[in-house]
Amino acid sequence: MQPEVAKHTSIHVNGEAARTRAASLADLVAERGFAENAVATALNGEFVARHARAATQLSPGDHVEIVAPRQGG
């Protein structure tokens, strides 16, 4: 058995290719330097609520959206 090492996963974040060590969506939000309340998230087009991020595992090829408030009309 080899020791468990956090591996990189290739995903897409906000439309751009990204490699991450994050295992869950909550880890990814933290890895990107966001307070958990500062952003909202979606995985492969589906909304993932704040409380569900920790239990949401990332898989290669996933498309993640991380959004924040912005000006609007």
Binding site: A38, A40, G45, F47, E65, V67, A68, R70, Q71, G73
Partner: protein
């Protein structure tokens, strides 16, 4: 006395989804020269509701929270939009993310069907409005003047409709007056907000004179040379238009009718002999 209850000089207040709002102007927060000008314009407009959106946030950025803090300091109600969404699925997910971020069930629902006119995809709009209403959202659908689509949106659970005046950002005013008038006559009890296409205070006043409940605009204020003064001009126009509607406008005539009394006109007999 008649049935109109004057609450303020500008007339009765707007009520949507059971909430009374102290202004009939809804203002967008985009495209201003600076955040401070935006904040000043919101205050000068006396808007009770401002529209906002959500966008992708860059890693380690804090742009969104800075903006939201400024908005919160203005003491107005916030209505996020689904601007840019082209399918019901995109709009639904966007609305869900916006609800969590802004802490409101109010959503200005846009499902765009054409890139050049930015006109709503009415079929997608009804589909998204149905799903979002079931999910507890208070949906404000950005729609056209189409009466049948309006009925479908109400059946979907919407308690307010937002027909366009003209395409977003075009500044053309009410381009289909007849259809907007008949929409107003048909849905007497439904709050109707003219959303988009307003370019000048006179356009907003006209919408209010026709009996629309409120006006939502952004570019006309944000793109003015002096957005803060323009915001005040719109506030005055909307007050004037609403007061005029509640006062009851005279009927148009095809021919002139003298305003000065005819009886007792000097030389009347000589003049007409």
């Amino acid at each position: 006395m008649n049935a109109i209850e004057p609450i303020s000089p500008a007339g009765s207040t707007l009520k949507v989804y059971g909430v009374e709002v102290g202004s009939r102007l809804l203002l967008g927060t985009a495209q201003y020269p600076s955040p401070q000008v935006m904040a000043n314009a919101v205050q000068a407009s006396r808007a009770g509701i401002v529209t906002v959106s959500i966008r992708r946030e860059a890693a380690r950025a804090n742009t969104g929270q800075r903006f939201f803090e400024l908005i919160k300091s203005l003491g107005v109600r916030v209505m996020p939009n689904t601007a840019g969404c082209r399918t019901p699925r995109e709009a639904i997910t966007t609305a869900q993310m916006a609800r969590e971020l802004f802490g409101t069930e109010w959503i200005k629902l846009e499902v765009i069907g054409n890139d050049d006119t930015l006109q709503p995809d009415l079929f997608g709009l009804v589909e998204a409005a149905t799903a979002l209403s079931k999910d507890g959202f208070k949906v404000f659908p950005y729609t056209t003047e189409d009466l049948v689509a309006a009925e479908r949106l109400l059946a979907a659970g919407c308690q307010v409709l937002m027909p366009w005046g003209a395409p977003i950002g075009s500044g053309r005013g009410l381009s289909n007056r007849y259809a907007l008038r008949s929409l107003r006559k048909y849905f007497t009890g439904v709050p109707l907000i003219i959303d988009a296409g307003i370019g000048a205070p006179s356009h907003a006043a006209e919408a209010m004179e026709l009996g629309f409940d409120a006006v939502l605009l952004n570019t006309a204020v944000a793109a003015a040379a002096d957005p803060v003064r323009m915001a005040g001009a719109f506030a005055a126009a909307i007050d004037a238009g609403r007061a005029a509607y509640e006062a009851g406008l005279m009927e148009m005539r095809d021919m002139a009718a003298p305003s000065t009394p005819v009886a007792g006109t000097p030389f009347f007999d000589l003049d007409r002999s």
